[in-house]
């Protein structure tokens, strides 16, 4: 009887642990993405204030997402995080494949290792957020303190 109860408890606990680990991992990726955007922010802002402002907003949003992922994210947090990161990755891909809109045309931006790293992190974050959304909400959420 005791053994069965412990097994049941482990079966219940393991999705929770997996969910927590995924959420912490996702928070780490969001925070890493924030740090990369903050790293390039001064140069981007002094070179091009509009681009710098975009980087600032991305960094702020990723920071907020990272903290929320650490503290038992709700469904809407995951949804917003997904939308945010899909938008960031889409913007990056558009500016590298099609270009930055300029008057009547587009100017393609070069690919650098830092933006490539950030994009890889954001794609991984998107996959993690999708996985978290598929999990039972109770496995992701932490008990309220």
């Amino acid at each position: 009887m005791t053994v069965t109860t412990r097994r049941n408890a482990e079966q219940i606990a393991s999705p929770k642990i997996a969910g927590r680990r995924l959420a912490v991992g996702a928070a780490g990726m969001a925070f890493a993405s924030e740090l990369i955007h903050l790293w390039v922010l001064p140069g981007e802002f002094t070179l091009a204030p509009m681009r710098g402002a975009f980087f600032l907003l991305v960094a702020m949003a990723q920071g907020a997402l990272a903290v929320n992922l650490l503290f038992g994210p709700r469904r809407w947090t995951l949804r917003l995080g997904l939308i945010l990161n899909v938008a960031i990755v889409a913007t990056w891909a558009f500016t590298r494949l099609v270009g930055l809109p300029m008057l009547i045309t587009f100017v393609r931006l070069p690919v650098g290792w830092l933006d490539l790293t950030a994009t890889a992190l954001e794609i991984a974050l998107i996959a993690t957020l999708i996985a978290l959304r598929r999990m039972d909400p109770s496995a992701v959420a932490r008990t309220r303190g």
Binding site: L38, P42, T46, L56, A59, F71, L100, V107, R108
Partner: protein, 511 residues
Amino acid sequence: MKLSRRGFLRLGMLGAASVALPLGRMIGPMNELAEAGAVTSPPVEPFQVPLPIPPVLKPVRSDASADYYEMVQREATAEILPGYRTTIWGYEGIFPGPTIEARSGRQVIIRQRNELPVPVVTHLHGGVTPPESDGYPTDLILPVSGHAGAMHHHSGAVTHGTRDYVYPNQQRAAMLWYHDHRMDFTGPQVYRGLAGLYIIRDEIEDALPLPRGEREVPLVITDRTFTADGELYYPSLDPTLQGRPGVVSSFANGMFGDTILVNGAPWPVLEVGTARYRLRLLNASNARPYLLALDPPPPNGPAFIQIGSDGGLLEQPIPHDEILIAPAERFDVVVDFGQYPVGTSVRLVNREGVGPTAEVMRFDVARREEEYSEIPDRLAREEPLPDPSEAMEVRRFQFIAGFFGWPSTVNFRIFDPNRIAARPRLDTTEIWELHADPEHPIHLHLVQFRVLSRNGGPPGPWDAGWKDTVFMRGGSAQVIARFSGYRGKYVFHCHNLEHEDMMMMENFEVV
């Protein structure tokens, strides 16, 4: 509302990660932008410093067919503003660098040694030069110290410490200039002093009774801003020039200094006699054009008689009251100071300048001098324009400046060293239709061209002769060029050096 410890922690982390950290990171660039707009040079009384003349460099050896020079690019200090020491980067440690005097048809070989802390490239502007010596932006000379600095592009022919540049000088007499052309960093490196004159002479010019000797005066006009302690101020994103290229956004349209230097001296003065003087004007500024005039104007006749352009002597002299000279352009003019009484001070002014940038230098007519020179009605041998009907191609290039941090482009593309925008065939003629928005001095390497038209009408008043740089303030210009000399890859670009560094450049390959 009661906040739990966990809620407090969450709020604190939220504030730190999404507000404090990002906004804190903004303090540096915000300060940098504010400071960049506020730098003004220490005040200097104009017309106190005598005009220096860059020394002529002697060859280290000569043989039957060539003169050999050695030049060291190094850091040095110079007293540019009276009472201040300024760190410069100079050819032979001086700014402007020493002048090279070459003869048409006689080869010059210059060994450039890089003792600076960054890679360099030397371009002979206006030279008909084989591609390996043209100073392609990625053909770097790495520092002798072995420290490479920034290596953003790896496609060039890189040498360590030194490189020999071979200039065949198979071209007519003209005043060219050499300057740094390092990919992404041309603006700051020229600004620090990497520029000098290269004068080619030939028998045709020698035979003309033009002013010579002390009455032939090169004037290298630049603008610079200095910090309070007299150092050059340039708004680089990375002042070491070893990392990120570019300037702070408020200077994206060009570095405009508040102090005008001629031959490296602020608003200098030159004593002249009552005679004609040949002034060989070069605008070596990064971005500033000048509308030059004399004040007072001569009582009779025009201020300037133009006898030459970028590519050498005109066929006939052209009178001007004003000369619009854009970055990299050269004008060869004669001024007749015999029209002024002794004791007159004649200011060379910039009618597009405001405040200190409205003055360039002053000529003091100090003595009577016998006149020996003339300006003949016929200068250079007549060279017919390339026939537009023989043009193999008509190509169209649109130069659009970046704004709000958007890159500067040619045909909406940023520079890619591996992409060729045009492949003219050797010894063929092409018409290039250049469109500029808003304002660009457009320079083609290798060739000298003629301006065929502006905005569908005739060429402008300052378009005469053979040119390698055409200045456009909006609109379009058609230029016709014969792609002779050498096969290979060359660049054409905007000579506003901040635009150039922000990728307003393209390749053409003569095939």
